[in-house]
């Protein structure tokens, strides 16, 4: 078995344990916060009998441990229960809203990496020169305000005063993209509708940039710091002394070792975008899981809260597994240390 596969199996096993822990925690928290979900669902005018009946149906009158038992048994069948907010299965709601969030986070993450990392490399290579200072200013701007502030500013400037980008939504109403994966960019490409694809990207631009701006700043500053550190290493002096071309040193010989510490943090940034998307989705009226999450928390929709949190945790863990694998791939020390026991 290759060392990377062994690492993958190990990480999946530990992630599973984490998920079980998260499920217990969120299950408890959802039930401890005040308010009767049955009463909220049925409204103030419902009769006490109706509320009691719903409480029975939701197993809310059973002991806590028994409730958790029902929950796990349902979960094993892939059933997260009914949402009291939408009156649909929670799994159906998640399937409907998750792709929009993942699409936004994917584009924001790609933007963060494709802009942030090269900026950091440039800043490190031209450190203490004007370009470095300009990049520092730009990245400071990104980290100095939370992403929802940037979302509002970008929306005002580029959608309201200078209407070059759409103000809200995922795609213009004139496009009808057949539902395959739920990712509008992928579905439009599958149906061969390039105009719809362009339109979806156009809608993605502002929210994705707003969501990624802080990440761009952080990844650029982190990449710069790690590259500057690497440039002081004897193996870079060796590369210079042997006349390796400066560009190749920056892109290869200094870049790869520098990415080992950066990757972990960039991965965490990417995962935290899932949470940060809450406010950005609100501002851009993005029909995503984060918006759904806020709505169900306010309505104390127990099943939906637990389901949403579990899915977001799972996404978080998947990102972490991918990052761990990438780190193992570029760091031979980790890769080669995964010996069979």
């Amino acid at each position: 078995m290759s060392p990377v596969v062994r690492l993958l199996i190990k990480r999946i096993a530990t992630s599973f344990i984490v998920l079980v822990g998260v499920s217990m925690l969120i299950f408890t928290i959802a039930r401890v916060i005040p308010g009767d979900p049955a009463r909220i669902a049925l409204g103030p005018n419902a009769s006490t009998e109706a509320v009691e009946a719903l409480r029975d149906k939701l197993h809310l009158n059973d002991a806590f441990v028994v409730q958790y038992g029902y929950f796990i048994a349902d979960l094993a069948r892939g059933d997260l229960g009914q949402s009291l907010y939408s009156n649909r299965p929670v799994t159906a709601d998640i399937a409907a809203y998750l792709p929009a969030t993942l699409e936004l986070v994917f584009f924001a993450g790609t933007t963060m990496i494709l802009i942030g990392v090269p900026l950091g490399m440039l800043a490190a290579r031209y450190r203490d020169r004007p370009l470095d200072h300009a990049i520092r200013l730009f990245t400071m701007l990104g980290v100095s305000a939370p992403d929802f502030v940037w979302a509002v500013i970008l929306m005002l400037v580029f959608a309201y005063f200078l209407p070059v980008f759409p103000i809200a939504g995922r795609i213009s109403d004139s496009f009808a993209v057949p539902h395959v994966t739920g990712f509008l960019t992928i579905d439009s490409l599958i149906s061969g509708d390039l105009a719809a694809f362009g339109n979806a990207l156009w809608h993605l631009a502002l929210p994705a940039f707003a969501l990624s701006f802080a990440g761009i700043g952080q990844s650029a500053r982190l990449t710069r710091a790690n590259m500057v550190e690497t440039y002081r290493k004897p193996f870079i002096e060796m590369a210079l002394a042997f006349g390796f071309p400066q560009g190749r040193i920056a892109r290869r010989f200094a870049f790869k070792p520098s990415m080992i510490p950066s990757l972990t943090v960039i991965g965490l940034d990417l995962a935290s975008m899932l949470g940060n998307a809450f406010l950005v989705e609100q501002i851009f009226a993005w029909p995503g899981l984060s918006r759904y999450g806020v709505a169900v928390i306010l309505r104390k929709d127990l099943n939906a809260i637990v389901g949403t949190v579990l899915i977001i945790s799972a996404m978080f863990l998947i990102v972490n597994i991918v990052v761990d694998l990438l780190v193992a791939l570029i760091n031979p020390r980790i890769r080669l240390s995964q010996r069979s026991s």
Partner: protein, 296 residues
């Protein structure tokens, strides 16, 4: 007479900082004839390593470095070369070996990948297969028994002595005319150091390269150099043939340096008082070994 491989005249260097300029070299002159092995000896901070890095053009790229004087490599004035021309010399005509071989090799690339990059300096279009073939031959030359395995390894998987030999093979791979050895093998234990230095010596002779050997280790210098320059606080204080200099050191600093060599039978290292012993006395050259006499 052909131009010496390296000729340095009145080289001065300072670093400009917040509190004015820190002078590092105060006008040093030295030269290395073709095929000659010359040692530059001095304590830490005396300016020996920075001299080698000036020759390579690495110091010039640091901000705040101010230097004057003339450096000529095979008759070409290094000061008039463009940055690109200076870079073209590195790794090809001039190469360098470092103190700590293991940390001088990039930890995330295999030796084979690094070797390919080194060979690309001499032959930009070299393919992977040809590079590997030449790398195997080069590693064979430095007495590495299993070159294929070494090429597929990372530096941290190999011993320090093995890495030192890899670096020597890399430094000589493009048949440079000048090899700068900056305290080679100081990070290794003594027996391994002696073996690799002997090997380096043979190979340098076979390639007909000249060598500037930078060291604070007098025992090693005595064994491997034809001529010695002693440097102290940015000045050459004594120069001469290795035997003559070791038999009869003339400058007070050289004598102090030699007294500082620990001996098994000795009583220990004597206290040396820098202020009283004339360490700043002018350069002493052994008869027939001044720059003027050696370089007509």
């Amino acid at each position: 007479m052909t131009a010496p491989t390296l000729a340095i005249d009145d080289l001065r260097l300072g670093f400009r900082g917040w509190a004015g300029t820190a002078e590092v070299l105060h006008g040093i002159s030295l030269h290395i004839a073709k095929g000659e092995r010359v040692a530059l000896v001095g304590e830490s901070g005396s300016g020996k390593s920075v001299t080698a890095r000036l020759v390579l053009g690495l110091v010039q790229e640091l901000r705040g470095a101010r230097y004057s004087g003339r450096m000529a490599f095979e008759g070409r004035d290094l000061g008039t070369l463009s940055r690109r021309e200076r870079e073209a010399l590195r790794g090809d005509r001039i190469s360098m070996i470092f103190q700590d071989p293991t940390s001088s090799l990039n930890p995330v690339y295999t030796i084979g990948t690094l070797f390919h990059e080194v060979l690309r300096r001499g032959n930009p279009g070299i393919g992977a297969a040809e590079a590997r073939e030449r790398a195997v031959a080069a590693l064979d030359d430095v007495a590495i028994a299993d070159p294929g395995r070494v090429l597929d390894s990372y530096a941290f998987q190999l011993s320090g002595g093995m890495n030192q030999r890899v670096l020597i093979a890399m430094a000589l791979a493009n048949s440079p005319s000048l090899l700068l050895a900056d305290e080679p093998g100081t990070a290794l234990d003594v027996t391994v150091q002696a073996q690799t230095l002997a090997l380096m010596q043979q190979l340098v002779a076979r390639h007909g390269a000249s060598m500037l050997f930078i060291s604070h280790n007098l025992g090693v210098v005595r064994e491997f150099a034809d001529r010695v320059y002693v440097i102290y606080k940015g000045r050459i204080v004594e120069q001469g043939p290795t035997e003559g200099l070791f038999e009869a050191p003339l400058h007070p600093y050289t004598r102090a340096l030699m007294a500082a060599v620990p001996r098994i039978t000795g009583e220990g290292i004597p206290e040396i008082d820098e202020e009283q012993t004339g360490f700043y006395d002018p350069l002493v050259a052994h008869p027939g070994y001044s720059e003027a006499e050696l370089r007509p």
